[in-house]
């Protein structure tokens, strides 16, 4: 070793110079001790990281090979009875950015603006509006978002969202309602059926490879819950028909509002429910809440004469009168206490049949006063007045039916022709199922029902048949509603022309209504029409609401292919001006 060392130095070896190998005595133990200490430290640290502070490293480690993926689940569809989509969710994208991290060249910005169909100035304005967070585009088509993301602009992000579309637009708006933020139902069926329709996204952990592809499932963190489809009883064809005819009538008579309901007699299903005014649920930014109300279910009105058949039915069922019992209605007025009841057109002695046909208030009041108030109350209550119809719609109202004990005679008399009681249109339509069937009231529902639905018997079958016969007379010449007749079908129904109650006074504004069913020989459909404040002259239910009934009923029966039950030339209209007028 010395030799080598000398050779390296390139010098001649010096002899006799022996350097004594003398190390400090403590050097070796010291180095050993230090090294040992370091090892102890290292071991301690590793134990610490393994058992105490393992969280951080584990997260960092798994972040490099695993990912949590969201498993999307979209909201269920709402479909009509034949499967036509009425509300549908489809994936869309939203583009967003943190404005301080957003960095685009002018060319990129211009290109982005072009894709988003806006101007660079507007985009900049959006970014400047809020310094923390800004949406550059909301709910755009996935393809547009892909093109925007392909520009690789720094700080631009996209996120998945679902957007709800309503193909029916304003025609089905009131039934379906709409969803708000985060796809949650806000109105109508969307709100009422939120738990059924809503899907909840799941999440799972996977192992990824260097290309960011999932290569192995590790665990399902949350199972996705797909939203379920919901089938409504609505028939889109009838719904449109109802909407079109109602709209035409509301415009023609310059009315404030209107409602129309079509019921399936066999099942109580609501086949169509139209309301005016309406709105477009796909573009509802500046729509007044007022237009969004489903008036047929959430508003009440005094039904007027459309209630007379129930009074007559109660008296017939109790055996107090028969269809041919004669009631004296002359001189067309009747005074009870301080109040007087009028007939719009004074009649003489009328049979019970004619009381309905001519819609005599005095006649109905006299019949009502011959009944105990409990009997009448029971009939109205059994008909479903005063209790919410439970169709499955949120916020439906019960209407007002005061307990029989509190009725004064004058109130009992006015209630006989539908004043002092309030109902909604669906209640009214449903109550007529007792005349369209053999005296059974069917539950009304907005949901598709299969097969026959049993009702609750309310009337004796012969009473139902007798009233049905009277209601048919009302639509024939000599009745209040010859304009309700339909070519090829026998129809039956009752008009209503009710003064509106404003404050505590009856005004000279009216609610014109018609409720009826057809074919009279074997009723299939009930149509109830309500026109609120017609203000272009005509206001009688027989002039305003009955023609709507006729148009809707005729077209609906033909659409459904219901066999005709009358000869084709059955419609006989009386000469103009000779129709029987009625008030209430």
């Amino acid at each position: 070793m010395r030799a080598t060392a000398s050779a390296l130095r390139g010098a001649a070896p010096r002899k006799g110079v022996e350097l004594p190998l003398k190390l400090p005595r403590l050097r070796a133990p010291l180095v050993f001790g230090l090294l040992a200490l370091l090892f102890v430290g290292l071991a301690g640290r590793s134990v610490y990281l393994q058992s105490v502070d393992h969280e951080f490293l584990q997260t960092q480690g798994s972040a490099r090979y695993s990912r949590d993926l969201e498993v999307p689940a979209h909201r269920g569809r709402i479909i009509d009875r034949s499967g036509e989509a009425l509300a549908l969710s489809t994936p869309v994208k939203s583009l967003w950015a943190f404005p301080d991290k957003f960095d685009a060249t002018p060319a990129q910005l211009a290109e982005l603006a072009r894709i988003l169909e806006t101007t660079p100035q507007r985009l900049t304005a959006r970014l400047d509006a809020n310094e923390d967070f800004a949406f550059l585009a909301r709910q755009i088509a996935p393809e547009a978002s892909e093109r925007a993301m392909a520009l690789r602009i720094k700080g631009l992000h996209d996120q998945n969202e679902y957007r709800r579309f309503y193909p029916g637009g304003e025609v089905t708006a009131h039934i379906i309602g709409f969803t708000g933020d985060r796809d949650a139902g806000q109105e109508g069926i969307e709100l009422a059926q939120q738990p059924w329709l809503a899907g909840s996204a799941g999440s799972r952990r996977v192992i990824i490879n260097r290309r960011n592809e999932a290569v192995e499932d590790v665990a399902a963190i949350r199972a996705p819950q797909a939203g379920r489809d919901l089938a409504l009883a609505i028939d889109t064809r009838l719904q449109y028909l109802a909407f079109r005819e109602l709209k035409a009538a509301v415009e023609l008579h310059k009315a404030k509002a209107g409602g129309l309901v079509i019921l399936n007699v066999a099942t109580g299903e609501i086949l169509a429910l139209a309301n005016l005014p309406t709105y477009n649920p796909n573009r509802r930014d500046k729509v007044a809440r007022d237009r969004m109300r489903n008036r047929a279910l959430t508003d009440v009105f005094e039904p007027g004469s459309t209630l007379k058949p129930f009074t007559i039915a109660a008296a017939l069922d109790a055996g107090r009168i028969r269809p041919d019992t004669v009631i004296q209605t002359a001189p067309g007025t009747m005074t009870i206490g301080s109040a007087t009841i009028h007939d719009a057109h004074p009649q003489g002695a009328l049979t019970v049949e004619q009381v309905i046909q001519k819609s005599s208030n005095v006649g109905a009041a006299k019949i009502a006063l011959g009944l105990p108030s409990e009997t009448m109350w029971e009939m109205f209550s059994e008909a479903g007045f005063g209790t919410a119809p439970k169709t499955g719609f949120p916020g439906e109202v019960a209407g007002r039916l005061r307990p029989a004990k509190s009725w004064k005679p004058i109130e009992q008399a006015t209630m006989a022709y539908g004043h002092g009681i309030s109902v909604n249109l669906v209640q009214l339509a449903r109550a007529y199922t007792m005349f369209a069937t053999d005296g059974e009231v069917k539950p009304a529902t907005l949901f598709k029902t299969d097969g026959f639905v049993a009702g609750r018997p309310v009337l004796k079958p012969e009473t139902a048949l007798a009233v049905r016969r009277m209601l048919e007379l009302a639509t024939l010449p000599g009745g209040t509603a010859p304009k309700a007749q339909v070519v090829g079908y026998r129809v039956a129904g009752k008009t209503g022309t009710a003064h509106k109650l404003e404050g505590h006074v009856y005004s000279n504004r009216y609610v014109s209504a018609f409720v009826g069913f057809a074919p009279a020989s074997q009723p299939r459909l009930i149509v109830a029409v309500m026109i609120d404040e017609p203000s272009s002259g005509a206001y009688y239910g027989g002039d305003v609401a009955a023609p709507v009934f006729s148009n809707v009923m005729g077209a609906a029966l033909r659409t459904l292919g219901v066999p005709t039950d009358a000869p084709i030339n059955n419609v006989i209209l009386p000469p103009e001006g000779s129709a029987v007028p009625e008030e209430t």
Binding site: E84, L88, N209, A214, I568, N569, V571
Partner: protein, 94 residues
Amino acid sequence: MTRVNLVLLCALIACALSLVTSRHQARRVFVELERAQAEARGYETEYGQLQLEQSTWGMPARVEKIAREQLRMQLPSAARTEIVALPGTKEGAR
């Protein structure tokens, strides 16, 4: 003894390699499955969009508007409607 060990070693190596291969195989197939599922989701989305389109185009309001305005069609009045009775029913045609 040595020979047995060698044989076992070979078997072990073979097993290990087959494990690696099958593992790789599994991942490859899984990636394929993922892709197919993504594709299925894509189709589902497209189906939804098509349904929406069909529903929107087929709405009676739109159909009627086109029939009226572009094709100049109109509903026949009752006077111009003829109801034909099927043989064997009691109603006669007008």
